[in-house]
């Protein structure tokens, strides 16, 4: 172990012991989802109180978002008590109680975690399937540490993988280790990560970039922003490792403006990493130097496509480029570039630390590791969960998600974002795994799973998805621009019970043209929501083609020409 790292570790240990020793620590989970239900107000309230034996800290969400606002109390003996759906009033009562007593307050608690056996009417968190069925690698620190606080991160073993790579491994070793781990891209394409890195690594160019894509536009997915706002140092460490392995100079973390919570968290983490000598010149005293910066984009879904993303960092319209040349040869500012998704990079520190065999021991043969899924919609326990690959969709829905949240049954799922697919019940036995999911007509994609019960009509769901795709088409390739608009028109007809008999063939024809004639996935995959729906809900769609359904309510959506837009202005 190097001197520099040892020093940081000692500082971190001092800091942690000050925080926890003889104290009750109250952790308020104030991520984006927590703030949406008032967790930030609770944090403000509690941290304004002065009480010597209590430390109140902010942490990100642990993923159990249906329980938010969520408080975790850690007693001096290490026992943890979880309090769910807390109001300001309840939080004050909890605070009052622990300012006088170390006894467990049972009111409003939903679980505890302890190394000893507590006889208790509340369950241990390890007995709850929504927690015990998870395997947390990338999200191991969720709900535990303050986002961007470097000492808290180091105290959990943070940056030890970087230390190991810099002083015990060569860049080739790191690439080899990632290759062996079987890690595949979590952004949607599932391309082997180590192989991707090996394209860039041998390039001798003096300037090379590694980019991290957090332009997570998929409705229903929030795990990229989740990692950024909950444990940004994992990403920073992963990116430095990526830079070391490929011998690159600089990294950009790319995210949409307006997502203030994740942006602030990652910028704080980057700044702290610079302050502690983990970024910049001669990292930890080694020969390796590396820079990192956040690049913001405006609102554009296509900016998440890898070459469009580079256009946006260069400050232009985010439209996809022709390939080849591929990014590894000519990417950002025509320099060799590697690009990975946030989730992909977040696995890397643990792979380097524990070895590729350890990582491979989880998951399936061709999809090693875990999947981070985001459940939303008609499900009892919406939230973000990291589950081992190979678990079936059914298990995720029932054991982790708790099944339907109404008396109606779950009818269908929408997975992998608006370009992904719609899955019916027959597909629920499918294993969550890149290849199995693809076989069933969907993609795992970004991990978003939107659950719909029997009350949702399939036409209504695909109308919403196609409306999104139509609105977000960047317009560069006309088959995508016009095709999505045309498909949306047809779906409006279906929804209004005014369709023509050959509308289904028309949709298929448009979909085919889009697939052949578009540069990026936005057009190529644009027909997916319809083709996958036809696989599971053909009769329902045929019924609406024959105008046998009640017209659906109109859906309010934005138009691409906005009020006060340039068209009017230039006119």
């Amino acid at each position: 172990m190097t001197e520099e790292y040892k020093k940081l570790e000692n500082l971190a240990n001092d800091y942690i012991s000050k925080l926890y020793k003889d104290k009750v620590v109250i952790k308020v989970q104030t991520g984006t989802s927590g703030q949406a239900v008032g967790a930030d107000e609770i944090f403000k309230l509690l941290s304004s109180k002065n009480e010597k034996r209590i430390n109140v800290i902010e942490v990100g969400s642990m993923g159990l978002m249906y329980l938010e606002p969520l408080l975790v109390v850690i007693l001096p003996n290490g026992d943890k008590i979880f309090y769910a759906n807390v109001t300001e009033e309840i939080s004050e009562r909890i605070f009052e109680h622990y300012s006088k007593s170390y006894e467990i307050l049972k009111e409003n608690s939903f679980a505890y975690e302890s190394s000893r056996n507590i006889e208790s009417s509340i369950p241990s968190i390890n007995d709850l399937p929504q927690f015990s069925k998870q395997l947390r690698i990338a999200t191991r620190n969720f709900g535990e540490i303050t986002p961007g606080d470097i000492y808290q991160y180091i105290s959990t073993g943070g940056y030890s993988a970087l230390n190991k790579a810099l002083f015990e491994m060569s860049p080739e070793d790191v690439v080899e280790e990632v290759k062996n781990s079987g890690l595949r891209g979590r952004g949607g394409a599932a391309f082997p990560t180590g192989l991707k890195w090996s394209f860039l690594a041998p390039n001798k160019a003096p300037t090379k970039y590694v980019l991290c894509n957090c332009e997570e536009g998929d409705p229903g997915a929030y795990n990229d922003k989740g990692i950024l706002e909950t444990d940004p140092h994992t990403l920073v460490e992963g990116l430095i490792l990526n830079g070391f392995a490929t011998n690159s100079n600089k990294s950009y973390v790319f995210i949409r403006q307006g997502h203030d919570i994740p942006i602030n968290a990652i910028e704080r983490a980057i700044k702290e990493a610079y302050d502690k000598g983990l970024l910049g010149q001669n990292i930890l005293g080694s020969n390796f130097s590396f820079d990192m910066e956040v690049a913001l984009t405006g609102d554009s879904y296509v900016a998440g496509e890898e070459t469009a993303l580079m256009e946006a960092i260069e400050g232009k319209r985010s439209t996809p480029r022709f390939k080849p040349p591929f990014p590894a040869a000519s990417g950002l500012w025509k320099k060799p570039t590697n690009i990975n998704n946030v989730k992909t990079i977040s696995y890397v520190p643990q792979i380097i630390k524990n070895g590729s065999d350890w990582f491979k021991s989880t998951g399936t043969e061709k999809s090693s590791g875990t999947a981070i899924v985001c459940l939303s919609g008609h499900i009892t326990r919406p939230g973000m969960y990291e589950i081992p690959m190979g678990m079936t969709i059914e298990e995720v829905l029932d054991d982790v998600g708790g099944g339907s949240n109404s008396d109606k049954e779950i009818k269908m799922l929408q997975t992998g974002g608006p370009l992904g697919g719609v899955l019916g019940k027959e597909a629920f036995a499918t294993k969550i795994d890149f290849d199995e999911m693809a076989k069933s007509g969907a993609i795992l994609g970004s991990g978003g799973i939107i659950v719909c019960d029997d009350s949702v009509s399939v036409v209504d769901l695909i109308r919403n998805l196609i409306a999104f795709n139509q609105f977000e088409s960047c317009g560069k390739c006309f088959p995508c621009r016009l095709g999505n608009t045309h498909m949306y028109d047809v779906l409006q007809r279906l929804a209004n019970s005014k369709s023509n008999p050959n509308d289904l063939q028309l949709l298929e024809r448009i979909g085919k043209s889009m697939k052949i004639g578009s540069l990026c996935g936005h057009g190529q995959l644009g027909y997916n929501p319809i083709s996958s729906s036809l696989k599971y809900f053909e009769s329902e769609i045929i019924d609406s083609i024959n105008n046998k359904i009640e017209p659906l309510e109109t859906m309010l959506t934005p138009t691409r020409t906005r009020p006060n837009s340039t068209e009017q202005k230039i006119g």
């Binding site: 919609g377 998805l465 309010l556 906005r562 230039i570």
Partner: protein
């Protein structure tokens, strides 16, 4: 004219004092919009000078990203989400309710210019859907009465 000169001075400030090192047309547009919440003609010209590109180049970027606007917005901005998670949890009814209570049709400003209503494709808090946001602060698990409360706070 004086006002326009002052505005230019401010804009030059925003453009040259950007927080992040890499300065581009897009980053400059974002810096201006972040500060004054719209892109006046003066900004287009100043950015074209600062970044050494044509005015058309700046317009090309500004007109592409849907978050840029070219007239001042209302005092507060209400984002209403119509993404699929919010949609199946009844967002459409709540959006209609917001339209009625604010007397706005589609997207735009209320008559007293206190509120701008915008459609959002996803605000990123899908587990708490349906979700609205006021000036980026999220409000989740919405229902009819909570929407009324939020909108009253805007009035």
């Amino acid at each position: 004219m004086q006002d326009s000169e002052n505005l230019r001075k401010d804009i030059r400030n925003y453009i040259s004092n950007q927080k992040r090192k890499t300065v581009t047309v897009l980053s400059s547009l974002l810096a201006v919009q972040d500060s004054i919440h719209y892109i006046p003609d003066e900004a287009i010209e100043e950015i074209s000078i600062h970044c050494k590109v044509t005015i058309n180049d700046v317009w090309s970027v500004a007109s592409f990203y849907t978050n840029f606007r070219f007239t001042p917005p209302g005092e507060k901005t209400l984002d209403v989400c119509w993404g699929p998670s919010c949609h199946i949890n009844g967002a459409q009814k709540l959006i209609t309710q917001a339209h009625e209570e604010l007397n706005i049709e589609g997207e735009g400003e209320s008559e007293d210019n206190k509120v701008t209503l915008r459609y959002s494709t996803c605000l990123g808090a899908c587990a708490q859907s349906p979700v609205f946001a006021i000036d980026h602060k999220m409000y989740g698990k919405l229902n009819k009465s909570r929407v009324t409360k939020i909108i009253d706070s805007l009035k």
